[in-house]
């Protein structure tokens, strides 16, 4: 078939305007995978929100009673699991008594995984923990913010059994814990609804719960207005996790993953710049 002589052959900028998405996928794959094989370290500037979070956790007296609400599931785990691990490590170092719950069905299991990773840190090899005395996992409870509301008045009836089916009155740590007012502090790791927003509205505001939060990057912008009063600190996304690992002195996976994130961000920006140059070049030509 003969070519239409009136049709213009696409120029360089036209092609740059329509880069196949598979090309972008390949670049991003390489950017994310290759850094995993190298031990590159990057200096991470700690943001004021994460510094505040670390300071708030350190202000809790050693042996304090801390509530860990794990409101996330495996899809968000790459961002949130490092936060949970680092928070548990701080808790182990400060010998906090830990009560773990989840408003997401998968939360308590994620907490188990994070707790196990934290306890395997060689720095805590001499720490002897007894389930029911030093920590408990009360599992998942359905009801979203209604659960928080109920915890404000009566925790044993909200969580009558732990995640393994043991009645809470048989757990020594739970003796004397009546409601949210009994906790010295709370760490919430959140991937959405129900999560930090509900804990702020129904826990921190209502019952004066001192809390900090770790949330996914996309959710951070919604949580940052609470920082200062309702939230005593905030970790946002993997960057927040890396900052917390750094400032708490427990470097982990998030710091390692930051290299890949750096390269991936640069690649995305390069593609955006290319797209804009091509856009203006073709617009000018069309205008002419």
């Amino acid at each position: 078939m003969a070519e239409n002589p009136t049709e213009m052959k696409p120029g360089l900028f036209d092609r740059l305007m329509r880069i196949d998405r598979r090309v972008i996928f390949i670049f991003i794959s390489v950017a994310l995978i290759v850094p995993l094989f190298f031990n590159i370290s990057q200096r991470i500037q700690v943001s004021p929100e994460v510094q505040m979070l670390n300071d708030a956790m350190n202000k809790v007296p050693d042996g304090g009673l801390v509530l860990f609400a794990m409101d996330y599931d495996p899809p968000s785990a790459p961002e949130l699991q490092p936060m949970a691990v680092a928070a548990f490590k701080v808790a182990l170092a400060k010998k906090f008594k830990m009560v773990i719950i989840g408003l997401w069905p998968q939360g308590p299991m994620q907490a188990n995984m994070a707790f196990e990773t934290a306890t395997h840190d060689p720095r805590f090899k001499d720490v002897k923990l007894t389930y029911g005395v030093d920590y408990v996992n009360l599992g998942f409870q359905s009801g979203n913010e209604a659960v928080i509301q109920k915890m404000g008045s009566d925790i044993p009836t909200t969580f009558p059994r732990d995640y393994a089916g043991t009645p809470v009155d048989q757990l020594p740590l739970m003796k004397g814990i009546k409601n949210l007012g009994n906790f010295d502090f709370m760490v919430n790791i959140s991937a959405g609804y129900p999560g930090t927003r509900e804990w702020v509205q129904f826990g921190a505001d209502r019952f004066g719960l001192k809390m900090v939060s770790g949330s996914t990057a996309v959710q951070t912008t919604e949580m940052s207005p609470y920082v200062g009063k309702q939230l005593l600190g905030l970790m946002g996304g993997m960057r927040g996790a890396a900052e917390f690992e750094q400032v708490s002195g427990y470097p982990g996976r998030a710091i390692k993953f930051m290299v890949g994130q750096s390269v991936a961000h640069v690649i995305v920006i390069v593609f955006i710049v290319i797209g804009n140059i091509a856009y203006f070049a073709t617009r000018k030509r069309k205008g002419a």
Partner: protein, 219 residues
Amino acid sequence: MRREIPTAIAFFVGIICIIQFFIPHRPFGTLVDVFSDWFGIVAAFAIWLGALNLLKVSLERSLSKKKTHDRWYGLVVAASFFLIFIIGMFMSGGDQFQVPGSRFDYLYVNIYTPLSSTMFALLAFFVASASYRAFRARSWEATLLLIAAFFVMLGRAPVGDQLTGFMPEGYRLSEVANWIMTYPQVAGQRAIMIGIALGVASASLRLILGLERSYLGGE
């Protein structure tokens, strides 16, 4: 009566919940605790309803005569549902099914977790591709968004500070990104939140007073 009774329940429960916020004593506090329990029970049934509905839709798809990929997807969902249900309910020690080391926990850690993380990780690729296509300086507002995105994306990764390490403190990319996130972003978010809160308050009042009945179906 199918409309009047649910409307009356919504009115009674809504009013008690509002009063309890200001007077957290008996009988209001006790009543709200009871309502919270009921809500938990209804929510637990809703989870079951959702799971069973997913199973129904998946089975219908897998038994459909249409030769599409959906048949296989439906079959995979139904088979996974039964697998995890049977192992969780009957082969993982009853109440102990979530305890590390149980069969259910093994499936959760080794199958569910990596599969879910993989699905979510795909977002990174689509976001990258979508950013390239969508972030064009077509207008003044789009240019502003583009500039903010440029600073935040670079500033939220350590590479931003490496590129601007020579700059005086306060002008490095991470600090510029923090400034954008702390001031213009928070100001915008607060405005949105206040707007949403007003909207929620008015929608809740309409529900409590029975002016909004769409949740009952129809109207």
